[in-house]
Symmetry: D2
């Protein structure tokens, strides 16, 4: 059996056994393992670790039935080196430095590089001191090749969750046009449905940060694709009061999260940010929606299936996701655009992620 | 006193008078006339008369406190010649051929000409026989000059209602950059707020039919500007059952309207059209919203004020209205985007328009 | 006979006559006048008077067989007000303030306004003191209407020479789509053939200053059209030594020209300008080529006839003239692109213009 | 000594030797080998084998001092599979099937796929029967990885000659941003200098076939870069009479070349093609210029060094090379644009290639 089992399962295994014939026990365990193995979701994450990517990673690590096969980093909220460093910091707090982290693309394919530095802080994680910072220089393994190799080795099993500009994913499919067919599913945080920009007049950050990459991914990843857009995350954001409860948990993870979130929380109160938001300002940890949807099939309660693409040429709309309700693009592949989540479920997942 | 008075007022005047000294009476009448005159709204319409323009014109004609100073025609739903002919047909049914009709632009500034022929019928009014068709060839007076002249002669008093592609308005402001300042207000049917296209992937018909004109008008008409967008009209459309009641009135106007509406009503049931619509398919007489808002200040119950412009370059978004919620365009002039109307009020106006 | 006769003709008339019967004389004169009238070229100029427009105007004024029906001014090398003032200054030096000057468009249709201030000087004419400046505020007559009216009154007779951004011409054709058919010919200074930019990477100043206007003019002016492009003027420029001879003439006109040209001559030596130039830096009075070609059919010795349009969307190429050698645009109307002029002839015209 | 020596050298080695002391001989040979090794050019070719790519490959194979490390194929003149097959056919005729051929990108990054089928024939090599066609299906090795690996193993030594759309090169640099620094030089056939299109109004085939790839390559390949543009090849084309002499050589290679060239020769006489050509129609084997320049430093007699980029957005200019003579792009890296070649030298190289 080739499926890797996480630590909780092995522990459980040792608790079984007294008073059973070893044969029956062995059969039971085998059955249990098969079932467990089928249920275990294999995730591969592509991140540009800022504050909400940190939430997403911690949520994945906390999920009992999830295995993270690897994490590729990309430019985006912050520089590639910061994204690598931040990912390692998150894994360290969670005591999971065993998960492989890969070095991805340091800049967009064609667009001018842009960072969301003023929102996530210069270092991408709220600019709080880190007494023992990790060394991303040591991370040499290449993201694109690792992604392709991992998917090829686990055909039909890997769910890819992308919460960064889509440069790594685009380069991967240019290099290996057939590998997306072997993905179980792709979950994206990015794009917008109603031309509500948070970065340019009509553009959302992740897509604007590399419009060509977003275009290529939406065009060539013909696996089941689920998109958590900017408007969706705004419309499903949580009250700030929940944020207080979330961070007040007495754990190292909660203290870490509280600390790195201070800066973005302040930013979210500014007039500039209020204007970006669709509806009222609230606690909107965008990337975590994509991750949560990837690991819990019951999270999304409303969605629509429609062909999408990315505008590459506009003055105000470059990088905007275009939703083809009329079917003018004649695209066979449709994406699932998330509309509503079960908020109680989402809150519980967030709470668990910091336990 | 230079203000023209419509027939209802004069009738009312003759009802006054018994038992009053002629001096007092005269003063009362004068005062009444002044007040009335101030209240009388001077409209100038710019139309591409298809079915919903016909609704809008008839609504304006039926309003007791409204004077139509002129109607300019433009290419759009149908050819310029059809639009002229259709406008005359509507005026004829309403017995108001005294209103001047002007010949405007036959094609967009730069864009390829496109008509909405399949929706409004080849002749723009549902392709029903007209035993005594008007002769638009006789209409030689130029729209752009008439519009400028009328506004200059009535400074601060004219409300311009534009329900066609904005070519005429754009050429007018290119020719006379200062004339929009003399408008009381501009009401536009066109554009979209949520990138929901009804003609291209992200574009609404009137704006897509002449994107440069729409850009110029939103940029240079710095008078109070109110926009009835595609999504707004969809979200404020009426049940088809109301349509039955509306057309069932026992008047020539209602019979005319019912007849010319048959084709579009059928079209509205088609799968293609269902996909254009935001929300459920319903009775959506777009142009009438702009007109109704122009003549009744209490119609619109929810709106937002925000700077807008038009995307000129996109592959999927050319002609799309871009809404600058973040203030990135640094535009001083903001438009009022209609969000909700008092539907009972609107229904009453539609009912009255066919009485 | 409606043709206006300039002063030289009347003078010549009085020299005839001794020893002829009055009848024969009268017939001879009539014949002579008809011939002369046919030969007399009616020009209408559209300018943004900087230094080279000044050259062009003076060349037109000096030509014996040319009548200038009017001059419309446009934004461009300098502001509209400066262009008006400068045009009056040129007419004054030439003692021809009788020629009507009209106020045109102060800004481009859609493009951001840009001036060539650093090249032509802040006032557009080299920033030399003018003790008795004219008052352009008095010029109220509208350019677009004057142009249309003049052409309508002289059908088939007017040669329009446009040496500014083409805003005035574009607005005129939008307003009166049929008037270009009544032009005898259109001569344009603007555009480029080889993607050699002098303002943006691939764009020539006049076209880049209003790309939409240039597009509209090349699309809708279906009269015979002759274009003096940037590369053409560079490749037919004159040695600086000729410039010395030209300005050394002992006339007020030459002194005026020498004075206003000092600034641009200095600019032409700068490294920045050297890079704009195609080939070696030399005396290149661009606008004068278009004017000279318009008044002397033998000036251009090599040309090609090909359909042209203007790129509106590019990052580096917006405003660039696109030359359709392959016939992909399926345009019926072709423009004559000038390639070479008879330089001796051109020099003589320049010399005469300052006499 | 790690440098590979081609067969002619070893043969020459055995011819030396009589009457020399073995020590001296050995020293002489060593010296000779070192010199020879230094002179031996290591080429890597990226092709979309149509007729002119075939010329280029054969020219490289015939050059005495050149080693071809590998050939990557790309979509372009024909489909990827045809390009692979055609490359094998050329190698077979030249008896050099030992050279590794790699499978590259089958379609452009973002642009719609287009082939030059009508010019090069449906199979890309003139549609002549091939009794024993090679099987490109067997070619599984990936082009991008092979290119990167080869360059990494020969740092500073590889000259890359690209005569196809630049998709393979673009993906390679996205995957390995630093590898172009290890190239000795890059020679490209593609792009244009004077906006003379041969595929779209202003676009050359190779660049138009993948504009984003061309943009990325011109932006990120900061090694010495030499470009043989469309206009350059037209202006340095050869008389048809030379073609007759070239193909009349009594060799298998010449007969092969004559056969596969018949179709393109016919096409070159058509009216459509005559319009593409800059100047007179003549024998223009574009790709061979880039290859010839790469192997003979004395071939190019005139060139200019200037920053270049690619227009991505225009209606008529998408894919056009933009030449930044004015330095507006502030690019540090400049490309060498070829202007003139020594035609006698070029003819000799062509003659030798079929011997």
């Amino acid at each position: 059996m080739s499926c890797k089992l996480g630590p909780p399962l092995e522990t459980q295994g040792t608790k079984l056994g007294n008073g059973c014939s070893s044969d029956t026990l062995s059969q039971t365990i085998t059955l249990f393992l098969i079932v467990k193995c089928r249920m275990k979701k294999k995730l591969f994450l592509d991140v540009d670790t800022g504050v909400d990517d940190a939430h997403a990673i911690m949520m994945a690590l906390a999920a009992p039935d999830v295995e993270i096969l690897g994490i590729t980093c990309c430019h985006g909220n912050t520089s590639l080196d910061n994204a690598l460093k931040n990912t390692l910091r998150v894994l360290k707090v969670c005591n999971r430095l065993d998960i492989p982290v890969y070095r991805g693309c340091a800049e967009p394919m064609i667009a001018r590089k842009r960072h969301a530095g003023d929102f996530h802080g210069k270092d991408g994680l709220g600019d709080v001191p880190d007494p023992d910072p990790p060394s991303p220089e040591l991370l040499k393994k290449k993201a694109v090749q690792a992604l392709i190799k991992t998917v090829n080795e686990n055909p039909g099993e890997v769910t890819l969750v992308a919460t960064a500009p889509l440069t790594n994913l685009a380069v991967a499919v240019l290099l290996a046009p057939n590998f997306p067919k072997k993905l179980k599913a792709l979950y994206i945080m990015g794009g917008n449905t109603d031309s509500r920009g948070n970065t340019t007049v009509c553009g959302e950050f992740n897509f604007v940060a590399d419009p060509e990459a977003a275009y290529i991914v939406l065009d060539r990843y013909t696996c089941p694709t689920y998109i958590a857009t900017w408007e969706f995350s705004c419309r499903n954001s949580l009250p700030w009061s929940f944020c207080d409860v979330l961070f007040a948990q007495d754990t190292d993870k909660a203290r870490f999260m509280e600390k790195i979130s201070r800066h973005t929380r302040q930013m979210a109160q500014t007039e500039r940010y209020q204007k970006e938001v669709v509806g009222e300002s609230a606690f909107n940890t965008c990337d975590a929606y994509a991750l949560a949807a990837a690991i819990d099939d019951d999270l999304v309660t409303e969605s629509e299936e429609v062909a999408v693409t990315v505008e590459l040429e506009g003055t105000y709309t470059r990088g905007m996701m275009a939703v083809d309700y009329m079917g003018l693009l004649k695209k066979k592949h449709k994406a699932v655009i998330m509309k509503k989540v079960d908020l109680e479920r989402f809150k519980q997942m967030l709470m668990n992620s910091l336990k």
